[in-house]
Symmetry: C2
Subunit: 384 residues, 2 copies
């Protein structure tokens, strides 16, 4: 049985992207690899909506969260951490680990950050930075980046944005929103193996970098930018070469589909997934105002073990979804619908979910989910 | 023309290892991936010669150098950095970046660290740790790990060892030598794509970890060890999944060859390479006492540009060697002979080198190098 990977990252990697990653190893300090680097960084910059340099690290998403913090801040800095889930908490913990004075604004899990909350909080203290999770993977909440950026207004606090599970699936528009640092990673919307994290910094963030005193070496964005600007563009430390080969191919595929089509696909996958699980009598964790385009977290029905549900979806239907994280562990399951995920994948998932729920004794029409989702996708998808 | 990659990392990745890396993406928190993790970490532990846990990070070699420092030390700690080249200097700079008080012992590039030098230095100050580069990739110097470990003796300083370009090609024997932290990476002797770094720590290093106050989050070895010990073994942050697939296959190949055969192959490759370049009238950078088994750095002959030499080797013969690093840039070239490199590769390299030197007007018998190397390999290799 073909495994259908629907966790919120790593996401499915299409065969041509995997095959590109299997090309013979090459010298990472060569004209040929400099071209790969350039293609990838230029392509990712388009997804960022930035004219600033995009800097690649060999790391996972958490690595670039750390890079965002240590490149712009100093121990003792007053930081505002906006948290609506496990990843918001992680961002805050990283800043604390490096000695920042962190004030956490937490909202109920399932809710997003109300922009007025940010506005009010910024009036309280001369914060140096705001930590924001664009898309909170643990709850399936997608914050309103534009409204939050506006709420920051002309306050001097830097806006550091975790866009790990959004960028490439949801518009980010770093420059026009005035975001100061935006980070993401290869294994989410970009549909590549994990191993490369990206960071881009605004001119204001580069100014902050000059004064930032948190210790750094591996994450030093100045070293990276300098090496990339050299006559032979390169990274200061060995990059994850095979992931770059994959990224180059994946960006080609995304450009082929067209960025607005990619965004629209994710928006519809999200709508269909929510419609489907609701038709099966289940309740998404996220308030519909903040429903994520890339992941839907769903409360397990009364009396049904998340472990059994997730295990049977995988064992009997080959559908791999994720359990809960942090305080939602054992209470929710999560369907990732980002990267190379298509309507037929969501339909297969909902069909399997209906069948497993019925098998587990939940009183439900097992076809209700797939039918509701198909209606969202429209006639084309149903007959596909 | 087939490209022959003979830089000191990334090293050639054999087709089955690349193909393993191209397997469909999978859930990194699953029984199936836990088995991959376990196989890889157990296999690498054998190469380490340790019964301690081997911890994997998504990063390159420099990342695990940083991990070695921040997990065991505190700002203000007196550290002794033994440096015989660019990577020794890097290790020292990382410790400085995190606020250690670093005393550098530097030897002439091309020399190794004399054990008596370490012994004498340890009598000067109550050092908390010694930073040591086992194999200095910039000069092709391989330090005598056993003698240096003995020179440390019962001094309480931790011995932190950069084994990035040695482990898997040269015996390390972490436990029996009493090394405290040993780090390495996937793209050197392990013959995999870059993206995974490894760290293992002695019980003494784990004690130091409890008191170490350098800030850390991504590199926190306690988080890693805890997640790996969980009922479902995993990493706290997303691992470089495709590199793990490759590592599993590569370790299988290395086990098939047999560890002592692997070491012996590297020792002979090194001898043959040195004999070959010397027969071509060239001088290796490393004093023969410290000739590295994995990389040979060679002074460019008078009047020959390293750029031209390296460029023509690649363009005309498909042989990719590296230029110099740090203060040796433009003065030396480096032949990597680690990982999946065999006698025929070294012979092809020396044949090409002889031809290019002759073309560049150097008075030399262009076959002298390949013939000298063949004599080292013995009749079997010559007729192969």
């Amino acid at each position: 049985m073909d495994e259908l990977l629907l966790i919120p990252g790593p996401t499915p990697v299409p065969a041509p992207v995997r095959e590109a990653g299997a090309r013979p190893m090459t010298n990472h300090r060569s004209e040929a690899f400099a071209r790969v680097l350039r293609n990838v960084l230029d392509g990712v910059a388009v997804l960022y909506g930035t004219r600033q340099a995009v800097l690649p690290y060999a790391c996972s998403g958490t690595g670039v969260l750390e890079a965002a913090v240590v490149n712009t801040l100093s121990p003792g800095d007053e930081i505002l951490a906006l948290s609506c889930g496990a990843f918001g908490n992680r961002f805050a913990r990283i800043a604390q680990a490096y000695g920042a004075e962190v004030t956490r604004v937490e909202v109920e899990w399932g809710q997003g950050i109300p922009p007025e909350r940010l506005e009010a909080e910024l009036r309280q203290k001369p914060y140096r930075a705001v930590l924001l999770t664009h898309n909170e993977t643990s709850t399936g909440v997608q914050n309103d980046l534009q409204a939050l950026a506006q709420a920051r207004g002309d306050h001097p606090a830097l806006l550091l944005v975790d866009a790990v599970s959004s960028l490439g699936a949801v518009p980010v528009e770093m420059d026009s929103l005035g975001l100061d640092v935006v980070v993401t990673a290869s294994q989410k919307a970009l549909g590549c193996p994990p191993g490369v994290g990206f960071l881009s910094a605004s001119p204001r963030a580069w100014e902050a970098y000059q004064k930032a005193r948190m210790p750094r070496y591996y994450w030093d964005m100045g070293l990276l930018a300098e090496a990339l600007r050299a006559p032979l563009a390169q990274t200061p430390f060995t990059p994850a070469v095979s992931v770059f080969f994959s990224l180059e191919e994946s960006l080609r595929l995304l450009q082929q589909e067209g960025l607005s089509a990619v965004y629209e696909r994710h928006r519809r996958l999200s709508q269909a997934t929510r419609a489907g699980v609701e038709a099966l009598g289940l309740r998404p964790v996220a308030d519909p105002r903040w429903a994520s385009w890339t992941v839907t977290a769903v409360w397990a029905p009364e009396g049904v073990s998340v472990g059994a549900l997730v295990g049977r979806l995988r064992a009997e239907h080959g559908v791999v979804v994720a359990g809960g994280q942090g305080k939602l562990e054992g209470r929710v399951f999560r369907i990732g619908h980002l990267g190379y995920v298509y309507p037929e994948d969501v339909l297969r998932c909902l069909e399997a979910l209906g069948a497993v729920l019925a098998d587990l004794g939940v009183r439900v029409d097992p076809r209700a989910g797939v039918e509701a989702a198909a209606r969202v996708f429209g006639a084309r998808a149903v007959t596909a």
